[in-house]
Each structure stands twice: as C-alpha cells, then as structure tokens.
C-alpha cells in the first residue's frame, strides 16, 4: 500500500510537471474503481493535498469517493469530508440478501442501509446509490422492493446498471443460470424509470437519475466528450486528442513510476471523424442530447443513416427538442443499435 501511494503521488508530480499542466483547471475529482473506501482518510487527504499542490483545483470541485457499504463508518466518512470529499457513491447494488453474496458483495441489506445513514450522519448532503438489475434470480417484485426501499432513503442520485455479461467476466465466460428473460429486464428498467420520476428524479442519462441540481458533474464530463486526467492503475484519461490508459497491473504501474516515467500503457489519437462519433454517442446517452448540427454533420452524404434516423423518429425513439436532438427513455433502452450506426 505504501509503495502504491508513493507511486500515485509520483504520478501526480509527473503529470503536474507537464507543459500544459499549469493551464489545467480541475472541476471534479472521482475516486473510483476497486474499493477506494478501503483507503484510510489520511492517505486520501494526502492525495487531495498533492493534487491541489500540482494543479489549480476549483474550490467547489465535486469530489466523489466510491464506497462499499461494509467498508465505511461514520468516523471514516467524517474524516473524508474533512479532507474535502463532498459526494459519496454507495455501491449497494441490491437489497436482496439472497442475491448479494452471489455478486461477491460483503454487505447485506441492513449493512447497506446503515452505510447510507452513516453518510448522512457524517454530514454528506450529496449521496448517490448504485443499483443493478437484470441479475440472476431477480424478478420484478424483488427489484421493486429494492427500488422502493432505496427511494425511501431519499438519496440525491441513483445509478442503475443492467447486468452486462462481457466475454472477459467470470459469468460471461462460465455462463450463469437464472438470468431473467429479456421482458423482465425491460420491465425492471421501466419500473425504476417510473418510480424515480414519481419521486422527482430526472432521468438524465441512460443509467442515471438525479434530483434537480444533483447530476454527477464528473460523469457529465465523459458524456460531453470533454477532457479528463487519469491517475492510478488501469485508469483512463483524455487529453487534447489523445485517449490513454494506464498499466493495469499494480506492480508494473509502480515500477514504471519508480523509474521516473508515466505508466501510460496504451493510447490512441482520436480522428476528427471518431471525435464526432464519440460526441454523438456519448451525448445521446444523456437527456440533454446533442446539438442538431452535430447530427447533421454526421448525416452528410450518408443516405442509409438518414433512413435509420427517420425510422428512429418514426418509432418515437428519437426526438427534437429545440435545436437539440435527444433519445427518449424508450430510445435509451435500444441505444446501442443506433450508436453502432453513428460510428
């Protein structure tokens, strides 16, 4: 851990020493991936201090830590808050005690509730809860219970991800039984969408819901295809026209930094055409959509895509809103079918 933290500070130093660093103004900070809440408050505070030393960090920067319910206490969260953290993202996933162990989660529904209460007790007024649907063994009733209970906690923000089986994941490779049929997964999506709307949440991105004023500023940077820096193993950044990713293996990550080099493992320069496609694909993930002019630029000379867009309008999956174009909640649900064509 000491070696890793030293490497991370070294990385911030190296990034801060780059020619363009003085022009960077940091608006949001996000501790995510793995279980950041295992980190003690002191090293977390040290990282934030180092970051403020090297970069111009906005005084009101949205600063989020992803937390697993079993790893937080009121005292720890208070210390986080004292260090400058102002937003928490709680990885609750489910309130079904039969399902949580299958997800490899160490908490139960009671632990999840206590963690949420601890965040309030520690003074956090911007808390997000992460949920998952489409899980093996999860029927519509089970999902409704989870949704209603979490909404009763009155969080500011909700993220709900449908289970996606990647070839690389354990379930994707080995297969998993008990997956609900597609109709059920679709019903689960609509159940949350409706319940969240009834409680005053805005469905502002495919998988994200927020009370007014509490959209995740950090995630919106991704969706606007704007720039962000990355630090830590496997982290991904976007600077200028270059998307890059750090080495994933922690020992190699540390070693590279100990040798005085940035641990960038892969990078690619995004072409103007790719950049336009990314802006469309990411922007259409959000309820704000994209400027109609961007879509028009993509449609130039592409008759098949124009037919596709017309079909999407006809099916009311895509709609115009002033000078912007956006997907409907039904459009979100099948959005990849359009994104493929927008590439």
């Amino acid at each position: 851990m000491t070696r890793y933290l030293a490497a991370l500070e070294r990385e911030l130093d190296l990034l801060g020493g780059l020619g363009w660093a003085p022009r960077v103004r940091i608006e949001t900070i996000f501790f995510g991936g793995g279980t950041p809440s295992l980190l003690d408050p002191e090293p977390l505070a040290a990282i934030l201090v180092r970051l403020r030393d090297r970069f111009a960090v906005a005084p009101d920067a949205e600063t989020t830590v992803e937390c697993n319910p079993e790893s937080v206490t009121r005292a720890k969260l208070e210390a986080y808050r004292a260090a400058g953290v102002n937003r928490l993202s709680l990885g609750v996933q489910s309130l079904d005690d039969a399902i949580l162990p299958r997800l490899g989660r160490l908490h139960d529904q009671r632990g999840a509730r206590l963690a949420f209460e601890a965040s309030r007790d520690a003074g956090f007024s911007n808390v997000s809860v992460d949920l998952m649907y489409g899980l093996p063994g999860l029927d519509l009733e089970g999902w409704s219970r989870t949704v209603d209970a979490v909404l009763d906690w009155q969080p500011e923000h909700l993220s709900a991800y449908g289970l996606t089986l990647d070839a690389g994941s354990l379930w994707g490779a080995a297969g998993v039984g008990g997956l609900p049929p597609e109709e059920t997964v679709v019903a689960q999506y609509w159940r949350l969408t409706r319940a969240a709307a009834e409680r005053g949440f805005e469905h502002y991105e495919i998988s994200n819901y927020a009370r007014p004023g509490f959209r995740s500023r950090h995630n919106q940077i991704y969706w606007r295809a704007a720039e962000y820096l990355a630090a830590g193993p496997g982290a991904c950044g976007f600077v200028g026209r270059v998307r890059y990713a750090n080495a994933r293996a922690t020992p190699r990550y540390c070693q590279t930094l100990e040798e005085g080099r940035l641990p960038v493992d892969t990078f690619e320069e995004v072409t103007p055409r790719q950049r336009l496609a990314e802006r469309l694909i990411l922007g259409l993930r959000t309820a704000d959509g994209v400027p109609a002019a961007w879509l028009d630029a993509r449609l130039l000379g592409d008759a098949p895509l124009r037919r596709t867009i017309a079909a999407w309008r006809e099916e009311r999956l895509l709609a115009d809103a002033g000078d912007r174009v956006r997907l409907s909640a039904a459009g979100f649900l099948v959005s990849d079918a359009l994104f493929v064509d927008l590439l």
Binding site: G162, R243, A311
Partner: protein, 596 residues
Amino acid sequence: MALARIRNFSIVAHIDHGKSTLADRLLALTGTMDAKKAVDQVLDSMDLERERGITIKAHTVRLLYRARDGHEYTLNLIDTPGHVDFSYEVSRALAACEGAILIIDAAQGIEAQTLANFYLASDANLTIVPVINKIDLPAANVEGTREAITAVLELDGSEALAISAKHGTGVPEVLEAIVTRIPPPAGDPHGSLKALVFDSFYDSYQGVVVYVRLTDGHVRVGMRILLMSNGRAYDVQQVGVFSPDMRPVEELSAGQVGYIIAGIKRVADAKVGETITEAARPTAEPFPGYRDAKPMVFAGLYPIEDTDYEALRDALEKLRLNDPAFTYEPETSLALGYGFRCGFLGTLHMEIVQERLEREFDLSLIVTAPSVRYRILTTAGEVLDLENPSKMPTPDRIAEMKEPYVTSSVFVPTEFMTVIYKLAQEKRGEHKSLEYHGKRVHIRFDFPLAEIVVDFYDKLKSISKGYASFDYEFADFRPSDLVKLDILLNGEPVDALSIIVHRDKAYEKGKALVERLRAVIPRQLFEVAIQAAIGSRVIARETVKAMGKNVTAKCYGGDITRKRKLLERQKEGKRRMKQVGRVEVPQEAFLAVLKS
C-alpha cells in the same frame, strides 16, 4: 522430336484418392522439381484451389524421363479440374491425351467420380492405366479393388499397379507403364497445323496464354494462326512448354503439348475446345465436341452498397477475361436495386466467383438463392427461358413449364441404401437402376437439377457418414408442376427472395423458409412479419419480435475507447446487411433460402 518419344497423359481420380500426391511423386522422380515445391507452385496454384483441396483449372507440366529401354521420353502431364461443375473442361483436357492414369483408393474402392472419370476417359478413347493407391493403409484391400476394377470397369484388374504414392512404393512402375502402355501420339508433323485448346488464362502483360495440344503440323513465332470457331486470326508471338514454369521454345510440333501467345485479348476468344490452325494452310476439320460452356445455375449478384455497382461491373468484366464460362447481365430488383444476373457451371463455380469478387476486388455482395433455368411455353405460344424466379409469368400466362433434369450415379455401401432412397424421394429423384458390387451398390437416379444444386451433396455425405459418392450430368428438360413462392416482409414482397418450387413441396418449403428467415433476420426497432405466399395466398408466417433492449448500461469509468471498440466490432457484423424497405436483411438470408 520423334513422336515415339512423347506421351501425353492425365491423372484422374475420385477426390482424395491421391491424385496430387502421385503427381508430386512423378515430378520429384523425374527431377522436374521437388515434391514440396511442386505442391506449392504447380498443381494448385490458385489460393482458392488450395483451400478447397480441388483443382479448378487445368494445369500442365512437362516431365523428362529416361526409361528402362535407355531412351529419354517427354511425358506431358495434363492435370484436369476435379469437380463435376467442370466436366466439359475435363473432357477437353482428356482429349489432349492418349492415356490416363486412373487412381483408385485401395481402402475406398470405386467411387462415383472414379466411374465418371472412367467414362470420360473411355469416351476420349484413352488407354487407361488403373493404379491402386494407398496400399500402405491398414484398411487397404488390394485384391478386392482388383476384382472391382474387373467387374465394374471391365478393365483387367490383374494389370492394375499397386502403389503407395505417399511412400513412393511402386511409383517408378507408374512412369514405366506410362511409356510402355500408353501409345505415343499419332499425327502428321508435316500436315496442316491442328491444335486443340484445352485451357487458357489471361496474363495482364502478355494477353491470353493458350494451352494447346498439337495433333498435326507445327507452330512457331511469326506464324499467322486462325481460331476456327470464330474465324479470328492472330500472329504468334511466343510458343513454349511448361517445365514447370513457362519456357519459350522455337516451335511446337505434332504430338506436343505447350502454350501459344498471340496477342489474344480475351480468354473468351480462345475458349476451351477451340481448334487452332494455320491461316494460310488451314486443316480440313476442326476437333469435334467443341461447345460453349453452358451455365446451369443462376443467381443475382448485388452490391450491398448501391455505390459499388460500377465497381462490381468492372470486377465482373475483369473476372470474365479469365473465366468465359460464367455469364452476367444487368438486372434490377425492387428490393436490392441494381445488380447482375450471373450464370455459373454449378454452385461451386458460383461460390468461387463470389469469393474472388469479395477477396480480389474487396466488394461486399448479396447473392440471391441460386436458380436453374426453366423453360416456359406461354399461352401466347412463346418459349421463355427463365433464370430469375421473380420474373416468372402469372399462372394464367403459362401453358407448360419444364425444368432441367440430370442423370446421376450414387455409389454407397449397402447399409446406407435405405437412407439414400429416402433422400432421393425427398429430392424428387426417379430411380433408374441398381447394381450390386460386393458390399457396395451403384444406384442411378434422375433428379431435377434444382433439387441437387444447393445442399444435396452435403446431405448425401452426412446421411451416409461420408461413404456415398455422387456424380451427375445434364439430361434434358421435363414438364413439371411448378409454382412461384414469394416472401413478404411486413407485407411487402421481396423479389430477390422468390423461388420456384414443385407444387407438392410448396407448403413444406414455405414453412421451412420463413422459419429459417426468422432465425437469420435480427430483431429490429419494430416487429417484422415474415410470410410465404403463393400468389395472394399466405401459406406460412413467422414474426421477429421488436428489439427489447440493446444498451450498454455503464460507460466503464471513462474508458470510451473500449466502448467504441465494442461498437466497432458490432458494426463489422452489420456491414453485410441490406436495407429492404425498412427491414435490415443480412446477406446470409438470401442464400439461407435454399438451405431451409
């Protein structure tokens, strides 16, 4: 060169009986080139041929062999195409020979193509040297194979050479038998030039290179030659032999095999079977048996992107330079736009052309279900040749409709007879004869060509665990009760999916077809109804449900590259879809039609 020192021969065999292996051995033994190099360079020089393990075009190579009588002989090995689609080309290559080595696998025995090749060689009056190969196999039955040769082929089985081409056992005796058993070419070296074209290819630098066998006279640089079928005359620029690469020589004379280059621009101007003679002193009679290769199977070829139409036309034109057997004519389809109706010798030929267009010209194509050519007598008294099912006249305009039939041979171990008869019945086969040969039977059926063009051979192989062999040739047109089966997507007929079927099989076929289409048409934003109809009567229906969800919920902590790559991979799969009305139809749907 004395005719007595020349032998022209080919090697014929059922597939996998060891033709290439023996050819390699002969090349190595005569020092023409080492066996490995031979395989790579000579015998199967087209990529596609190597991949499919069959010879598509004829090849030829000259071997110099010092025989046991102390004389050196020139042995011209003329390799023949190895697939039933190309039987005319085989017959012309055999016509350039005096003898043929007929290889029979010692473990497999006589197969359908053994017999077909035997008949072709006999028809060409060749001396046939039977060779029993693979005697090293544990399952080899040399004596049984000798008996079969005597019984089935009516050759002297005791004279068959027993060899293992793989190990080289007995191969020297094959060379010796070529010299002692196969007669030297007869012909008049001083007569008028008479040369048979048995293959040709287009070379972008030299024009058409024509493979010839001379029976009379000679040919040399500067001679003005005449192509007898079309009356065109050319000045010879180069003559040469294959040893195995092209090597120019001063002249070719009676009995010899080699090539001529004479500024011919298109392969179609020097077709297989053509007779070449001297313009100033023409021979009296051309070779018999010349005919234009007739396409048997037709399909529409359409670019997936409309903008590729010109590119497709150019590619077809270029391919045809080298392959006059395939034909193309522009046609339009309501569903697919502008494309071409192409004619092929068979479905293998069709697949080869399609693969070459996609590989060599980088085109993405839709190929419609292959159709045969139907002959229609209209009520107005006209005769129509119909190659595109969607163009079939309405029933009230048809007085009579005929479809092409083939005669065929099936060889199969007796235990599979029942399943073979069942398959034949499904495919509207008419049983003609049955002969027992030990544990195997030889069954002759007549089939409608349409029933065997697509998956018949695969089915035959699978139900007989690979033991059945099959060969066929075109017979005639016979009256038949045929109907047009249309496919509708969301109520709109898709002309490119129409097929012609026998009335008795229409329901079953329509049902299988819509099921198959449901499996290959991906879910869309809206429900897709797939219907099969005869006229206005719908006989089968399936539904592709609307897409329920297709979303990547999470954007992986800013790893946009990963998300984009996932989508790019999906897009690759979508590239081969054609938009028909509002429905996206994948390429395979158009061929899946006949595999249902």
